[in-house]
């Protein structure tokens, strides 16, 4: 196992972090609602998987 983080994976993690922070903000008023909590969890996983499959942002 390679425990050293590459620049590419750092960039991917950073962009995923930005997406998650944005989602938390969008869902911040509905956190007590069970359905919306489920939706937030699904949206987070969806965006994370998408960010991982697309790799780092090269722009």
């Amino acid at each position: 196992m390679n425990d050293k983080t590459s620049p590419a994976s750092e960039s991917t993690a950073e962009s995923a972090d930005t997406i998650i922070a944005g989602l938390e903000q969008i869902f911040s008023d509905v956190k007590d609602d069970a359905v919306m909590t489920l939706l937030l969890a699904a949206a987070k996983e969806y965006h994370l998987q998408k960010a991982e499959s697309h790799g780092p942002d090269e722009s």
């Binding site: 944005g22 969008i26 911040s28 919306m36 699904a42 949206a43 996983e45 969806y46 998987q49």
Partner: protein, 283 residues
């Protein structure tokens, strides 16, 4: 703006926001069950630009017909009256309120991207729920926020106040509308759709997409658009005018009741279909 002025304000919208003549004629003709395909084709053909737009939309990857549709008559045979009427509506209303390339407080490009994504998602949800004509669901989603674009066009200064309040307080656009105007885009959209003699189902969906149970017999259909709107916001498809998400209505959610994996699969399908429909509207 006081609530007491609502009727006066909205009557002004009715006078200002009028559908183009050809679209209006097509609605009248398709509302009459005795009308023929020839009459519909003749009405559309009065407008060469609209004819070409309808053919382009009918041939877009969103429908995925293997053979090219080259005439309006052919399009009517393949798609049917209701779907042709919906294409005329989509093209005409988009043209009335298209982005004009100027920087605006209300993001029209984002608005139409969100509307298109809602149309596509409504269609996907309608399919899951076994709705007969899933193409109808597309127009419900596409036009659900009609009131926002009408407000931005005809009550620009008041609506700019709404957008500023959304940015200052980081609240839902609907809450800002209630605070600034005393009514919301759903009410405005419902009134305009009624004045345009749009189908009753579409009027109800536009009017009650934030409160599906109030749509009575059209509750299921309003719920589809309500859920589509929330799903699109969850994965950031377009821009509904705010950076918040409203709560899912429990009675709407009961219709689908998806688990996390199914929601993720739906998100993937939504995004794929949105990519396919890029040529549908010239956003």
């Amino acid at each position: 703006m006081a609530r007491t002025n609502l009727k006066k304000q909205l009557s002004k919208i009715s006078d200002l926001a009028t559908l183009p003549v050809v679209a209006n004629n097509v609605i009248q003709i398709t509302n009459n069950p005795k009308s023929s395909a020839l009459e519909v084709a003749k009405a559309i053909s009065q407008d060469a630009a609209l004819t070409s737009r309808i053919l382009k939309m009918a041939n877009s990857a969103m429908y995925g017909f293997p053979q090219k549709i080259t005439t309006i008559n052919h399009a009517i045979v393949i798609l049917g009256f209701a779907n042709i009427r919906n294409l005329v509506l989509a093209a005409s209303i988009y043209d009335m309120f298209a982005p004009n390339g100027q920087p605006q407080l209300f993001d029209r490009v984002g608005f139409w991207e969100h509307s298109l994504a809602c149309g596509i998602t409504s269609k996907l949800l309608a399919k899951r729920l076994g709705i007969k004509n899933i193409e109808e669901a597309f127009i419900w989603g596409l036009l659900h926020d009609l009131g926002k674009i009408v407000l931005d066009t005809y009550f620009h200064t008041d609506f700019a106040g709404v957008i500023k309040l959304v940015e200052e307080k980081n609240i839902l656009i609907r809450d800002a509308e209630m605070e600034v105007l005393g009514y919301d885009h759903a009410e405005v959209g419902g009134i305009v759709a009624g004045n345009w003699n749009l189908p009753q189902t579409l009027i109800k969906v536009i009017r009650f997409h934030h409160a599906p149970p109030q749509a009575n017999e059209s509750m299921r259909l309003a719920a589809i658009v309500h859920m589509a709107d929330i799903f699109c916001r969850a994965i950031d498809l377009g821009n509904g005018g705010d950076r918040k998400i409203p709560c899912m209505h429990p009675e709407a959610w009961e219709l689908l009741d998806l688990d996390k994996e199914s929601i993720k699969a739906l998100f993937t399908e939504m995004e794929q279909e949105v990519i396919k429909s890029q040529a549908f509207l010239p956003i």
